[in-house]
């Protein structure tokens, strides 16, 4: 196709370019104004200085970044966020892989129904989905009551790291299942059957055949889950309570309660940069021959 285009007169290519511009520029214009400009502004603001009276003073300083890395409180919040993100990613992959495999290899008419059940939670706000966990974990909630009935002592899990991790796992798990499922779907089941007919046990045929072929998809699922967990807002806010701090709620708090725009901007940049560096680095963990 490109070879053909190269032989056509120049005017044709020019007309193509003009048509492409006409089709794409309105959307690009809106994204530039409402996404690129705001993000550039956040970068610029992160270099400004905060003043209790004037709020923001134009400057060109790295003081906000320095303050973040030198204050043990903020470093601890970043560490908590990373810890929660890692834990949820590991749990999501552990629970999600078997689910994805089962779904991909399902052939009955229930498959469509099961797929819809996995898709549905993706489109229900994480706020709404936290209601169920709050019923489970709350004082006088389901787990508290069960524990009192069994052991005589109540068990309150609300405002614990465990509650936050479980909440985020339940929000992210459908993404992981869907991503991995679509990858496994592309692997011909006959390849597995071939392995098994040659004497490989089901477990072995999974690890030697499906796992390497699905690895790129699994990596994408893990990265997606990690990004979502790093940016979680509703879950730590509602299940973590006031003392369990993660980055996203803290950025909002610094922005609205303290009115410290420069520092909030710097925190947003630090959060995005940390996520970006780690997700870019994680693709190096996949052996080169398996990279998709």
């Amino acid at each position: 196709m490109e070879a053909v285009a190269a032989k056509l007169p120049v005017a044709y290519g020019e007309r193509q370019a003009r048509a492409a511009t006409a089709f794409l520029s309105p959307a690009l214009l809106v994204v530039s104004i409402m996404l690129v400009a705001p993000l550039l502004l956040v970068i610029r603001f992160s270099l400004n200085r905060y003043d209790p009276q004037e709020l923001m003073i134009e400057a060109f300083t790295g003081a906000n970044y320095l303050r973040f890395v030198s204050d043990p409180f903020y470093v601890a919040v970043l560490r908590t966020t990373l810890g929660v993100a890692f834990a949820t990613t590991v749990i999501c992959l552990l629970l999600g892989l078997p689910m994805a495999y089962r779904l991909a290899r399902m052939t009955s008419r229930w498959k469509t129904f099961c797929m819809l059940c996995i898709v549905l939670p993706l489109f229900v706000s994480s706020v709404v989905r936290m209601v169920g966990w709050m019923i489970l974990f709350a004082h006088g909630g389901v787990i508290d009551n069960l524990a009192r009935w069994v052991t005589g002592n109540g068990l309150e899990l609300m405002f614990t790291p465990f509650a936050v991790v479980m909440g985020i796992v339940s929000v992210n798990l459908p993404y992981v299942v869907l991503t991995v499922q679509s990858t496994i779907e592309t692997i011909d089941p006959r390849v597995e059957e071939a392995a098994q007919s040659l004497g490989a046990a089901p477990g072995r045929s999974f690890w030697r055949v499906v796992w390497p072929l699905a690895l790129p998809g699994i990596a994408i699922a893990g990265i997606l889950c990690f990004i979502l967990a790093m940016n979680a807002y509703a879950t730590p806010y509602l299940l973590g309570g006031p003392r369990f701090q993660m980055m996203a709620p803290l950025i909002y708090q610094v922005f609205t309660n303290n009115n410290d725009w420069p520092f909030a901007s710097a925190m947003a940049i630090i959060l995005m940069a940390t996520t970006l560096v780690l997700t870019a680095g994680s693709s190096l963990l996949i052996p080169r021959r398996y990279r998709g």
Partner: protein, 271 residues
């Protein structure tokens, strides 16, 4: 003989993981449904009765934010379609330098943290306000414009997908028979994209309706969306009313997805 003890225990472990995963996703939803019919003002086990009266109270309690959410999502979807359908056609038809960059940029709002987008849009609005004295921050206009950015990727993505297997021959035939370029798009390209456009619009609508992180920065007194109203409600009380609200949303989204699944296989559109 091959069905050794190791295989069997492996199969049991896999089965346990599947059950655990399903429980993590669905137990909270089922519990929400259960609580929503409690005839108690708070969570008390066991309740002294069951009632549906909480469902009747949803609308009076959440009418204002619900209205804002519906308006915002509706207008944002229309604007996204106007911008996104041509963008999808452009991306699928033409091969030009920087095409990958353009596609990445248009889809970027799906992966950039909502907190960063919201923060940026708010400070940009305040900057413009200071220079021009337009009342932007806290306005419905700003809210809609911001929601256009996060809904646009869905429209572009699903339009692109619907054109992936589209045969340009039909368009060329129409053009060679004398149809003008716009007529070709209207009579040939758009009908071929119908499924993608419908799916894109519905996903975009739900995406806007459920957005929390970005919208947080754009609310003002009187301009609050439903997820934010629910969030601030939940901060102080967890009761059957908010559970009923949650169930109603799950049921509505489920119904939309069921309708959608007849147009395009929903799960495949996402992956």
């Amino acid at each position: 003989m091959r069905d050794s003890w190791r295989d069997r225990s492996g199969r049991v472990a896999v089965h346990a993981l599947v059950v655990a995963g399903a429980a993590v996703i669905f137990v909270p939803l089922v519990l929400t449904l259960y609580l929503s019919v409690f005839d108690e003002p708070l969570i008390v086990f066991p309740p002294h009765g069951y009632t549906l009266r909480w469902y009747a109270r949803i609308l009076p309690e959440f009418a204002a934010p619900l209205e804002t959410s519906l308006w915002t999502a509706g207008v944002a979807v229309i604007v996204s379609l106007v911008l996104g359908v041509p963008a999808g056609i452009g991306l699928s038809r033409y091969r030009f330098r920087g095409r990958d960059g353009v596609a990445t940029l248009l889809l970027a709002p799906l992966t950039i943290p909502g907190v960063a987008i919201g923060l940026g849009i708010y400070v940009l609005a305040v900057m413009i306000e200071e220079r021009t004295e337009m009342a932007l921050s806290g306005s419905v206009l700003l809210m809609v414009a911001a929601h256009v950015v996060i809904t646009l990727p869905w429209v572009v993505r699903l339009c692109l997908a619907s054109l992936a297997n589209h045969d340009r021959a039909a368009e060329e035939a129409a053009a060679s028979l004398g149809a003008r370029p716009l007529t070709v798009i209207w009579r040939v390209t758009l009908p071929a994209m119908r499924g993608g456009i419908v799916a894109g619009a519905l996903f975009a609508f739900i995406w806007s309706f459920e957005n929390l992180e970005m919208t947080l920065f754009l609310t003002a007194p009187g301009v609050t969306t439903l997820p934010i109203a629910v969030l601030s409600y939940l901060q102080y009380h967890i009761d059957p009313l908010v559970a009923a609200m949650a169930v109603a949303q799950v049921v509505l989204v489920g119904a939309v997805l069921l309708i959608l699944d007849r147009q395009v296989p929903v799960a495949r559109a996402l992956a």
